[in-house]
Symmetry: C2
Subunit: 93 residues, 2 copies
DNA sequence: TTATTTGGTTTATATTATAAACTACTTTAT
DNA sequence: ATAAAGTAGTTTATAATATAAACCAAATAA
């Protein structure tokens, strides 16, 4: 049986990737709301995705407020698609 | 976003359920080979699935040798199908 | 009879996920 | 101007999970 990429096989990280696959970019606050996660948990999981090279995290400003935006990388896109393929073999899809 | 049943969202338990969804029953040794897991890990995960009511585990004999066979329950079947539906929303399927 | 293999379970450890506590800065109210 | 409250996160401590190593009992082979 195929291996399921452990970086993606986590509810919150998968949710984040799922969102990022369908948008240009998304910021921390948006991801937090959409996934209904706590800030701390989200922060940790974004780090993991970032360290894996699956997303880029950019810290910028909107006026005086900080804004952290995330984008999926090409590597992340590929990993996500491979994960989907692997999962399909488990789910009979 | 939908919750992913944490009992099923585990590679090994999902693999076991995936196998059991497609056969009448399967024994410990078969599951161990198919999933390429260690006996200890498999034992623990079968317990969890069993305690959740997703499978039944029956200890019997074949001649003088013990044989542990597993079957998915109706509850397990339902949970698996709900899990698949929830996952689909993450994977754009 | 004593190894060895088979079929597991239990227990200890490593990894992961999560939440709570904290930091730094901004906005609002007094 | 200053205190109080909010915003946007990070760090750290704890709980939960996964995994492997050690163990056990029965059967078979040497």
């Amino acid at each position: 049986m195929k291996e399921l990429d452990p970086i993606l096989h986590s509810q919150l990280r998968l949710a984040v990737m799922s969102i990022l696959m369908n948008v240009e970019e998304a910021d921390f606050v948006y991801l937090k709301e959409k996934t209904e996660s706590t800030a701390g948990n989200l922060s940790v999981q974004l780090d993991k995705l970032s360290n894996a090279g699956y997303i880029t995290v950019t810290k910028g400003f909107v006026g005086k407020k900080t804004r952290t935006t995330c984008q999926v990388t090409e590597q992340g896109r590929k990993a996500f698609e491979e994960y989907v393929e692997a999962l399909k073999s488990y789910l009979n899809l």
